[in-house]
């Protein structure tokens, strides 16, 4: 039983981190209509900044710079590239983002090489044990922080002018624009928010039990794509729930692989996509998606 609970806790905490990434995908999509395939390298940029700066300026200052840097990078991608597209076509923008991802990733890979850069977090390799359940301290903190961040996001979208403007722009850009909402501002805010969330997720994805910042971190962000899709492309709540489902299912599939070996080895890799396809078969717009959201 404690084995099951350990895997469950592990899956839930990982799922909340995936949720942070998936929410970033959703916010960029709803605010500017872009499928942001450069999200992984934005995440890696944030984590890389933290790893190289934590030595000289300390961990917490480095985290602030990393989050600000990733947010700024998102704003720049939006301002320089996305807004200059001749026509706002999701397909063109998605391909543009793939290009941006390759460029950023190549440069970061060149800088990191095959080193593993320690993230220098104060929780190191500690673990917490509650009852028979053990969980890395970094994961427990990540889970708690993710819940707080999601609470703040709810407050932002429900109670602040900026958040309401962003929601209005997402629901109907043309009308919102006529009502005096500046889509350039809501777009920039969306990209900044997504970049900041990605950097936070990056710090935890690079913390114990992972070894540190390496180029593979950018790819692990793509594990959030099934979460984003199955939650519905345009739903923040869906992205969080999707993240939790993918996290738990992956942890249980790997943990109980020996009981499921008729399905073959390496199950953890396939299972998120299998779940995503199953959900889309039953609910074509995802769990919380609007039926009219554009799907690729």
């Amino acid at each position: 039983m404690s084995y099951f609970l350990t895997q469950l806790a592990n899956g839930l905490s990982y799922g909340l981190i995936l949720g942070l990434i998936a929410v970033g995908f959703v916010i960029v999509f709803t605010s500017t209509g872009v499928l942001n395939f450069a999200h992984g390298s934005v995440l890696l940029t944030g984590a890389y900044l933290v790893a190289v700066l934590q030595g000289p300026v300390g961990f917490w200052a480095a985290v602030v710079v990393g989050i600000a840097g990733a947010a700024l990078l998102g704003v720049l991608i939006n301002a320089v590239l996305v807004r200059n597209l001749a026509e706002a076509n999701p397909g063109t923008a998605a391909i543009l983002m793939l290009g941006v991802d390759i460029l950023l990733l190549t440069e970061l890979t060149r800088r990191i090489g095959n080193r593993v850069l320690p993230i220098g977090a104060p929780w190191g390799a500690d673990v917490v044990a509650i009852g028979g359940v053990t969980l890395p301290t970094s994961r427990a903190i990540a889970a708690g922080l993710a819940v707080v961040v999601f609470g703040l996001l709810w407050f932002l979208f429900a109670r602040t002018g900026t958040g309401v403007a962003m929601r209005a722009a997402a629901a109907d850009g043309d009308t919102a624009s006529l009502m005096g909402i500046r889509l350039s501002r809501t777009g920039a805010a969306g990209w900044a928010l997504a970049g900041a969330l990605a950097a936070i997720a990056g710090v935890f994805l690079a913390s114990f039990p992972a070894p540190g910042v390496g180029p593979a971190l950018a790819i692990s962000a793509f594990a959030a794509i099934p979460a984003w899709v199955l939650g519905g492309f345009d739903s923040v709540v869906g992205a969080i729930v999707g993240g939790l489902i993918i996290g738990v299912v992956t942890a249980l599939a790997v943990g109980y692989e020996s009981h499921l070996h008729f399905l073959g080895r390496g199950l953890g890799e396939v299972v998120p996509y299998a779940v995503m396809i199953l959900v889309l078969l039953v609910r074509p717009s995802g769990l919380f998606g609007r039926a009219e959201a554009v799907r690729v």
Binding site: P209, P211, S220
Partner: protein
């Protein structure tokens, strides 16, 4: 009229460029039989130079380690050249970057094959797998491609040590004979699917069968850098040791998580699993406590004349360079090719085919400690040695590894390669 002149000029320009890129080397003596002293020459050899190629990864995931190998290889041939060269000729190294992309590696191979006498290195599993059949068809020597057992089916490939499978078989034998693992125990194998990890698993499975152990396999991908779920599953299965056929990021995670779970069992890694930078991560203490590696190439810190020569050369060439097992490996690989080139020169046939033939006559090659035993390349289907160095992670040792000794177990001897 103006347009026609412009078109004609453009066409003429294209023809000139094509001619310049022609694959015929105007300086090369005819392949059929040159009168260059007594030595026949072919592609990549002129009256005063021998050109060897390196297809490596200077922009992809293995860029840092690959750069160390390029530095060391160039320093090696600079030294060879100051000592008079090979066959009266200087050796030049043509380095190209494939960025770990098999498509690019094949394209670069095509443009390079007609200008080199041998390929000193094609770095990476998928890249060398793409190039090996082409090089075999061209009869071109290919070295420095890692230790996957599949390379043993190629006559032209010179594997720089023993295979991953034999490394892992030795790890099992070492666990039983030196660390006292009891019969019936379970051993986890966490591995990348493919030429590398699957070969490692095959060796471990063979040895486990021989020694009465049970293997608990866990398949992963290079994307997995958090091995918590795998570590929990291994603990649940009750393993007494773990073998890892993966990369440094996976090693750090697995070692850290297993130690955090209180499962302090021996953790063995194949050659590419370890990098000294891991000792600075939170997993450092766990690695120093539990990690062993089985390698046919000597670790950086080994006190033997061959390894010392490799270190001296590297420290002169790159005083602040990163240290690791890549340094002795690059030195050894250059020495293997140099031996073949000298053999080809002595046999009077410095053509690509002559180099491959000379490589296949290499036997009893003493590398002064770079490898644990003399090497024998006469049978393409067999690895040149089955002995490995067993080392432990250590923050004190240069390159992060401290050598415990050499080892060759019964399952490693009986493993049927190929």
């Amino acid at each position: 009229m103006k347009h026609r002149i412009r078109t004609t000029l453009a066409l003429a320009g294209c023809v000139a460029v094509l001619a310049a890129c022609s694959t015929e080397d105007p300086d090369a003596a005819p392949a059929g039989g040159g009168a260059e002293g007594e030595v026949r020459t072919g592609t990549g050899v002129t009256a005063d130079t021998i050109t060897v190629g390196m297809l490596t990864d200077l922009s992809g995931p293995f860029a840092a380690g690959a750069a160390v190998q390029v530095t060391e290889t160039q320093a090696y041939y600079d030294q060879v050249n100051t000592e008079g060269g090979i066959c009266g000729r200087d050796v030049e190294v043509d380095v190209q970057d494939h960025g770990y992309d098999p498509q690019k590696a094949v394209a670069l191979y095509r443009s390079m094959a007609s200008n080199v006498v041998a390929l000193q290195q094609v770095l990476g599993g998928p890249t060398s797998a793409a190039v090996l059949p082409l090089a075999e068809a061209d009869g071109l020597y290919l070295g420095g491609h890692g230790w996957a057992g599949v390379a043993l089916q190629y006559e032209n490939a010179q594997i720089p040590g023993t295979t991953y499978s034999i490394e892992s078989a030795n790890a099992i034998d070492y666990l039983v004979d030196e660390l006292g693992l009891a019969p019936g125990s379970k051993v986890g194998v966490v591995y990348f699917v493919g030429d590398y990890g699957s070969d490692s698993l095959a060796g471990a499975q063979h040895a486990a069968q021989q020694r009465g152990l049970e293997i608990v396999p866990q398949e992963i991908t290079p994307r997995d850098t958090d091995l918590t779920a795998q570590a929990s599953a291994l603990q649940q299965a009750g393993v007494s040791a773990v073998i890892l056929g993966a990369a440094p990021a996976q090693l750090a995670s697995l070692a850290g998580v297993l130690a955090a779970q209180g499962l302090n069992v021996p953790l063995f890694g194949n050659t590419p699993t370890f990098g000294p930078s891991l000792l600075a991560t939170p997993a450092g203490p766990a690695l120093e406590q539990n990690f062993y590696t089985v390698t046919s190439i000597a670790p950086f810190s080994l006190d033997q004349p061959g390894v010392q020569a490799a270190r001296d050369l590297y420290e002169a060439a790159a005083p602040d360079g990163e240290t690791g097992w890549e340094v002795p490996l690059a030195y050894a690989q250059a020495e293997l090719l140099t031996t073949a080139l000298r053999g080809a020169c002595d046999a009077g046939d410095l053509t690509p085919e002559g180099v491959v033939a000379a490589m296949r006559k290499t036997t009893g090659l003493d590398t002064e400690g770079l490898y644990a035993t003399p090497l024998d390349f006469t049978d393409a289907a067999q690895p040149p040695t089955r002995t490995v160095y067993v080392s432990r992670a250590s923050g004190q040792a240069e390159g992060g590894l401290e050598v415990l000794g050499t080892f060759e177990g019964p399952s490693a001897q009986s493993y049927p390669v190929g």
